[in-house]
Symmetry: C2
Subunit: 438 residues, 2 copies
Amino acid sequence: MNIVLLSGGSGRRLWPLSNDIRSKQFIKIFETADGGYESMVQRVYRQIKTVDAGASITIATSKTQVSAIHNQLGDGVGISVEPCRRDTFPAIALATAYLHDVQKIGEDEPVVVCPVDPYVEDDYFQMLKRLSEQAESGEANLVLMGIEPTYPSEKYGYILPESTQPISSVHTFREKPDAETAKGYIARGALWNGGVFAYRLGYVLRKARELLGSCDYDDLFDRYEALPKISFDYAVAEAEPKIQVLRFGGQWKDLGTWNTLTEAMSTPTIGEAMLSSSCENVHVVNELNVPIVCMGLRDVVVSASPEGILVSDKELSSGIKPMVDAIRQQIMFAEKSWGSFRVLDVGADSLTIKVTLRPGHAMNYHSHEKRDEIWNVISGEGIVTVDGMVQPVTVGDVITMQAGCRHTVEAITELQLIEVQLGKDISVHDKQKYALEG
Amino acid sequence: MNIVLLSGGSGRRLWPLSNDIRSKQFIKIFETADGGYESMVQRVYRQIKTVDAGASITIATSKTQVSAIHNQLGDGVGISVEPCRRDTFPAIALATAYLHDVQKIGEDEPVVVCPVDPYVEDDYFQMLKRLSEQAESGEANLVLMGIEPTYPSEKYGYILPESTQPISSVHTFREKPDAETAKGYIARGALWNGGVFAYRLGYVLRKARELLGSCDYDDLFDRYEALPKISFDYAVAEAEPKIQVLRFGGQWKDLGTWNTLTEAMSTPTIGEAMLSSSCENVHVVNELNVPIVCMGLRDVVVSASPEGILVSDKELSSGIKPMVDAIRQQIMFAEKSWGSFRVLDVGADSLTIKVTLRPGHAMNYHSHEKRDEIWNVISGEGIVTVDGMVQPVTVGDVITMQAGCRHTVEAITELQLIEVQLGKDISVHDKQKYALEG
């Protein structure tokens, strides 16, 4: 099975764990068999591999997520990087061209497209295989998954099938309705449109040529910013007469709010937390290294990260966006291609961060105009380059770098540094990159 | 007026702001006229000075609070340091001997004793003056303040006066009763015993000689650990026939729990916090530098400090002790005689802290057996001594110190350091102190 996972943008609906640079699909919230935790991306990736060990998985996403994907899934996963955010049709066209031109997948081979973050069981991925097989059969140009509704939701679009058979032609699509209208749809056998579908690769290449003027990967990539913002549903699905829907009746959840996310937690707390016996329906997700104590709460979610602390009634937590949109703050934690950093202290003219580099990885060779930096190595071994001078470093070594000096560090083993930045107007934008000499 | 403020022990009932080394009276929670915040100790000190600018204030406390007292009240305040914790009679005897032997106060002068943390208005301190004057008159050996009860509390002892006059002889004392018994006391005109009283200095010196075998300050200090653990009420007040009570009907609150403490806050939030309009009766005290967002909560207190995060129903917050007693953790913040430190990062074999030194202050000259240290100066100017070598330091300077090397730093201006500690089994107990040479 060739599968394209659409990894959507960042958002603040799960603040403080998600923010401008960290998306909800990377939050490690699901307990694994070995007692650790995995993210939605990791869970879905593992589930696909369980159902189809040979599946070829490609993630369609923006540049900002590449580091997090490699950190969580390793370097083996295929990534189709969108140079900027367009709508779903350009993203799917680019990913399909990537499969064809880069991964050399044939035009007759089926491709399944699916969001990266459904909270589902293995039967969902079995259904993806059937979707793939149905697309390969050529009975229709496009095969959708229709999810049997469990309530008249206003959050999803609806698919009206011709029949109630497991496989049916699509009669028509309906936009997100109000609850009353949704009830009527459901009475007529409508299904939720979960944004999951399959096609033979050549079909979307033809659509790309027709609608975007090209199906060449490099060309689409180069012109990406100029491509029209159109959705796959609007541009392709709703205009396609040869279209089928496969009915799915298994568990399917969209974990987009704290309320739905905490329902999926197998334990009431993740991280250091204590709940008194007087707490009812309370969930805590704590990424800080100090304890959270909860007493006498009911239907509340508490979440703490280096970005901040949320304490909310679960139902009302979906209204978080306007509140956190008012917060303008320093990014306190970020995953990078080489590892991660966390802000420890913000001074008037200083910033202290903890840097963790993955073995074998290095920062860009770079300099800063307006700040000096000091590295204090607290664990691991690595190789530092400062203005072309190369030297090995280990625990206890201190490297001082004046503003303007070019520097990088490569980790041999996992390497941790306390980096002290000193200067006025310290900013992440004050960075000049260079090719490493020699 | 000579006043002795009893500054009680540390406790965890206001965790995470109070803990084993930080007492509630030092939490800065009361808004001042200039928009800043002051602690209970600072508020009481300021109130006394407002009522009696010439008041001589002595704080009776343990060694662990001396730094915090100097940091908050300056170096001018008198402190009677208890070498260890005994009960109130040894503490009051020692403080009284301190007033006599160290501060040279005469035996006929009145002394008022009062807890350091009542939440009261200026009329309370006017009453302390009257208590002092009444003691000076010599009508009785001991003059108590009796607080008019507002409800049949089980938390306080009761004083039964002979009459309902503003000044009356004491008929008898009653231990903390149950609510039903308390109702009966109140019907008979009983008053709460708030632990406030006045006497002529010589009176307690005589009691000390009688009960502790000495009234000499140095002698009491040296033998302090061997003194009996007896309360002033039991040892003195309840045995004294010449005793009066002055009735106080003003506002008097004991801010010992989060519930009562938040009642005294003039704003719902201190520190970075956002409350949604759906919050009712919610208070936030945030000492961290990241925002707390609250949504849809009712009757809840949220408090965050470097030690941890509390989210509690206000009524139930009084049951916090057993919960936080189960927490065994690194002290994350502490006030020292020279300033303060805060833990920024706890690694496997490293600890990173931020050190702030007050101008003119220095650490002890010391060394560590099992760890190296690195100082990164991030603001201010100072003088570092390492193994006898003295050098000035300023922003950007880095000092590395191997295990065993003797070191200290003195602040010229306020000085901030990032201190990186490296070694196995890092502990605050690994410290050897030395006299500074030269």
